[in-house]
């Protein structure tokens, strides 16, 4: 009990410290971009990269190497989940649960599944024009597969196909980087024309990389879901 009250007091002090430091030193809504690196991104981003969405311009073009590392982290985590949960699945063909999903869920999933895939694809194809991008679109695609798992107790994905897809798109990302290295001398440098900002086929290598990331993230998250759903109770 005494331990708990000390902890609560410490947490309250922490809360007050965080809040008042922020409120005093960094007022909310203050303009802090007049100097430094953000300014360059905001004023030169569209000309440099051809992408209207500046967040995408930063994530995929200026800091594309970071994103390659980020995709690697996600890949390692998916592999780790598979390794930790190895050999905990049920024998093939056995049902997950006794109870079937209701008619409404089953019918709804049949109708909505292709639309959710399409919506995910839309999000990552338009990553350089509208809010969203590869990671968000991939998450939507994984949600569509989760919906399939929820509605059909016998449903399970073909792991080999998903792994093959993931490897191919992962290699596409690396290959685009290496082509930049060969053609311009810099890894992940934009070697395609920028086009006119605002059009679908613009922004050089950004759409290629974001489509690759979208498919890769969708396949990886679906793999994680499959590993967790298939654990025997």
């Amino acid at each position: 009990m005494i331990k708990k009250s000390i902890a609560l007091i410490l947490i309250a002090i922490l809360f007050v410290a965080i809040f008042f430091t922020l409120a005093n030193d960094l007022p909310f809504g203050d303009n802090r971009t007049t100097t430094g690196v953000s300014d360059k991104y905001i004023y030169h981003g569209v000309n440099d990269t051809g992408a209207s969405n500046l967040v995408t311009a930063i994530v995929v073009n200026y800091r594309g190497f970071d994103t390659l590392g980020e995709v690697t982290v996600l890949f390692v985590a998916a592999t780790g989940v598979g390794a930790v949960l190895y050999n905990m699945g049920r024998p093939a063909g056995k049902k997950r649960k006794k109870t079937e999903a209701s008619l409404i869920v089953r019918t709804g999933s049949r109708i909505l599944f292709p639309m959710m895939l399409l919506f995910g694809a839309y999000i990552f194809v338009h990553g350089h024009l509208t809010p969203g991008g590869g990671f968000q679109g991939g998450a939507v695609i994984a949600t569509a597969f989760l919906f399939k798992y929820v509605s059909d107790t016998r449903y399970h994905i073909d792991h080999n196909k998903f792994t093959a897809t993931e490897s191919v798109v992962g290699m596409t990302f690396a290959l685009v980087g290496i082509m930049g290295l060969l053609l311009t001398g810099y890894f992940l440098f934009n070697f395609l024309p920028n086009g006119s900002p605002g059009e679908l086929l613009s922004a050089g290598i950004i759409p290629i990389i974001y489509v690759a990331i979208g498919i890769k993230v969708g396949a990886e998250l679906t793999g994680i879901l499959d590993n967790m759903m298939e654990v025997e109770q």
Binding site: K4, A7, L8, I11, A12, L14, F15, I18, F19, L22, A23, L26, F28, G29, D30, N31, R32, T33, V37, S38, Y41, I42, Y43, G45, V46, S52, N53, L54, V55, A57, I58, V59, R63, D66, T67, E70, V73, L74, V76, A77, A78, G80, V81, V84, L85, M88, L129, T130, P131, G133, F135, P197, G198, V217, L221, I224, N227, M228, V231
Partner: protein
């Protein structure tokens, strides 16, 4: 200003769960809440009064957008957070199979 308060509150709740909860799933929830708090904090640091989303389409001028850099960082952080949560939960599934308990104190006391 309410965003700062919410971010600090989420971080405090997350630390509370990590310090005082014994159930390992609740500890992961705390970790995830702290993650959300930090993300909210970074996003609200980049806000500029009257600013709009950093997408320069349909006549939006560079002068009237918010700072895009924290948003790009948070995009990375969200993905890392998902990875950490998934890995932690799978380890918890393994631990539960082995020890038949989710209490972190009991797991620590037990022998292999």
């Amino acid at each position: 200003m309410i965003y700062y308060m919410a971010a600090a509150f989420l971080i405090a709740i997350g630390i509370y769960a990590l310090m005082l909860k014994k159930n390992m799933i609740k500890m992961v929830i705390g970790l995830s809440l702290m993650d959300s708090g930090v993300n909210l904090l970074l996003i609200s640091l980049g806000y500029i009064n009257g600013g709009t989303a950093p997408i320069l389409l349909n006549g939006v001028k560079p002068q009237e957008v918010v700072d895009p850099l924290p948003q790009a960082l948070v995009l990375t952080n969200v993905v890392i957070g998902v990875s950490v949560t998934a890995l932690a939960l799978s380890v918890i599934i393994r631990v539960y199979k082995h020890y038949k308990t989710l209490n972190s104190d009991k797991v620590r006391d037990m022998k292999w």
